[in-house]
């Protein structure tokens, strides 16, 4: 330094200061060293977010707030929304593929007394990434001032209520205490009966469980399953055959209509008479069928001689045993005491 002239030494000092100041301005200006893209986030209440505030994912800064614009609820034809405040974010290009369509943008602060920042939850990786210039709706921060005002109002009303109804509330509390005391006495007096009621209730519950178990067994039994399968098969068969049958019926109906159109009044009377007779005959046949059903049912239930003979397996076994015995001892047919 001693070899340098006075002017050079002064110039060096000025240069150092200029470099320091220039470097600081360079950093403070948020000079973009990499590519960035634009995102716009609408808020109704963006808190205290200011231009230059960081945009973070977690604690990592991925961009900055370029501007905060007042829209005042004007209709944005591009989105169809009416934003109050629109923030313009400049986000690093290298994180573009990680900020997805369902990303959440919300306002938070760096610490208790820190400045407001915009934090980003990047969203579902399966969804497409947000495009350059995309406009999204942000998540408004909670209005603590509003919450406090409402809480204050609530407390004030509560306090007024307590103050204005002090006597009524005292009476209410005394009545409640009296009621609780009486209920306690009642419970103590009927202690044994309550035990019995509870025991009965428990027993009834157990029995109900048993009944439900039995019902479950029936519902899940093989017999019902077999019946349901048969019904299914029958329905399938009906479904398969119903169309040709309907075709036939339709043809018959048409033919009948044609035939009815061709017959005269006397023949119609005869037909009516014949139908009447057929109807009577059908009623008698129905009665006969009902009787037959009753008889068959009688037999199925194993009642009567024929029923017992058909349904009682013991008789079947006896007859089988008798036949087996006769086969081995045919002389018994002729033997008589």
């Amino acid at each position: 330094m001693k070899g340098l002239s006075l002017e050079v030494r002064v110039g060096l000092l000025v240069l150092v200061a200029l470099v320091l100041l220039g470097g600081f301005v360079f950093i403070l200006g948020g000079v973009e060293l990499g590519d960035q893209y634009d995102l716009y986030v609408d808020f109704d209440n963006p808190g205290n977010v200011q231009p230059g505030a960081p945009v973070n994912v977690g604690s990592i800064q991925i961009g900055t707030v370029e501007g905060v614009e007042y829209w005042g609820g004007r209709l944005d034809p591009q989105t169809g929304r009416r934003p109050l405040i629109r923030t313009h974010l400049r986000v690093d290009e290298n994180v573009r593929e990680t900020i997805h369509e369902d990303a959440m943008f919300y306002v938070t602060s760096q610490s208790v007394l820190g400045e407001s920042i915009i934090a980003v939850d990047p969203g579902d990786p399966e969804r497409p990434a947000l495009e350059d210039g995309a406009i999204v709706q942000g998540v408004d921060p909670p209005r603590l001032d509003l919450a406090l005002a409402l809480a204050y109002d609530l407390l004030e009303n509560l306090s007024k209520l307590l103050r204005d109804n002090r006597e009524e509330l005292g009476t209410l509390l005394r009545s409640a205490a009296n009621m609780i005391r009486q209920m306690d006495e009642l419970l103590q007096e009927n202690d044994n009966r309550l035990d019995a009621i509870l025991a009965n209730l428990e027993r009834a519950t157990e029995q109900t469980n048993e009944v439900l178990d039995g019902a479950n067994g029936i519902v899940n039994g093989q017999r019902l399953q077999r019946t349901l399968r048969n019904v299914d098969r029958t329905l399938a068969s009906v479904s398969r055959d119903i169309d040709p049958i309907l075709e036939d019926v339709r043809g018959i109906t048409e033919q009948g209509n044609e035939a009815l159109g061709a017959i005269g009044p006397e023949q119609q009377d005869e037909i009516r008479t014949a139908i009447h007779e057929a109807s009577s005959l059908a009623e008698e046949a129905n009665a006969t069928i009902a009787d037959a059903r009753a008889i068959v049912s009688h037999i199925r239930e194993g009642r009567g001689t024929v029923g017992a003979f058909v349904m009682d397996e013991e008789i079947y076994d006896d007859i089988q045993e008798m036949l087996r015995d006769l086969k081995h001892n045919p002389w018994k047919l002729f033997w008589r005491e």
């Binding site: 006075l6 030494r9 002064v10 200061a17 403070l28 760096q110 208790v112 007394l113 820190g114 400045e115």
Partner: protein, 265 residues
């Protein structure tokens, strides 16, 4: 100079009157300085010599002073903020904002005024009592043009330079104290999130203004010297006191203007 009470038994009203008269005298020197700044001719090397005296020769003193000031401010701020919130994450950001907006310039200008103001007043005052200034006048040369203007230019430039460097030194020492005393890492301490370009403009404006004010007040006191070597002593004292007072008043004025045009976040 009214504050130094050179005359005995000065009433407060008379002292206030003296302050206003001194302010007017400084304003007159300032007007003539501006005139010669535009129309005057500089002696080759005169400004560079003054810049060296004001800047380079003050650098070590200012760096040490600002380092101590930065360390003390950070330590006291940390101690007090610990009582309020157990969170030091924003101490660096707050300190940096305060430093850039006000402390680096205003606090740094006070020791600079003692170092530079005293030098200017003593030098010009000695020339006055040894009648060198009268010789200049006899040669039809205005002493403001020859003596005050080069010092004004040098003080504006180098005062700003020294205060910028002093600000960085104060920030560095504050960072060191924050790390050692409060376990705040330099990375956390280096937080520019609260600083705006307006803060920087305000801080640099103060530095430039204080540099000019020190030169004008000290030059005026030097030119107003009378009474031999004792008068030079009084002029030096009055220059330091007047410069410090001018810095405080200008800080109030510029901060008030900044409050409206560059509001703090």
């Amino acid at each position: 100079m009214a504050f130094t009470a050179r005359a005995e038994n000065v009433s407060p009203l008379a002292a206030l009157k003296n302050v206003l008269q001194d302010a007017l005298a400084v304003a007159r020197v300032g007007r003539r300085t501006m005139h010669y700044l535009i129309r005057g001719k500089r002696e080759p090397g005169s400004v560079a010599r003054q810049m060296f005296a004001i800047g380079n020769q003050s650098l070590f003193f200012m760096c040490i002073t600002m380092a101590f000031i930065g360390a003390i401010i950070t330590f006291q701020t940390g101690l007090q903020s610990k009582k309020l919130v157990p969170d030091f994450s924003m101490i660096g950001a707050t300190y940096l904002k305060l430093l850039i907006r006000d402390l680096a310039a205003s606090v740094g200008a006070l020791p600079l005024a003692t170092r530079v103001g005293a030098g200017i007043a003593a030098e010009i005052g000695s020339m006055v009592v040894t009648e060198q200034v009268d010789a200049l006048r006899m040669c039809a040369a205005d002493p403001v043009d020859y003596l005050v203007v080069p010092r004004f230019i040098a003080s504006v430039i180098m005062g700003t330079v020294i205060l910028i460097i002093g600000g960085f030194v104060a920030y560095g020492s504050g960072m060191l104290v924050a790390q050692l005393m409060f376990d705040v890492s330099p990375h956390t301490f280096t937080n520019l999130s609260l600083v705006t370009m307006g803060d920087l403009v305000l801080g640099v404006s103060k530095a430039v203004t204080y540099g000019g004010a020190i030169a004008l007040v000290s030059g005026q006191r030097g030119l107003a010297t009378f009474g031999g070597s004792e008068g030079v002593g009084w002029a030096t004292t009055e220059a330091v006191v007047g410069s410090c007072f001018a810095i405080i008043v200008l800080n109030l004025v510029i901060s008030t203007i900044g409050y409206f045009f560059v509001p703090a976040l």
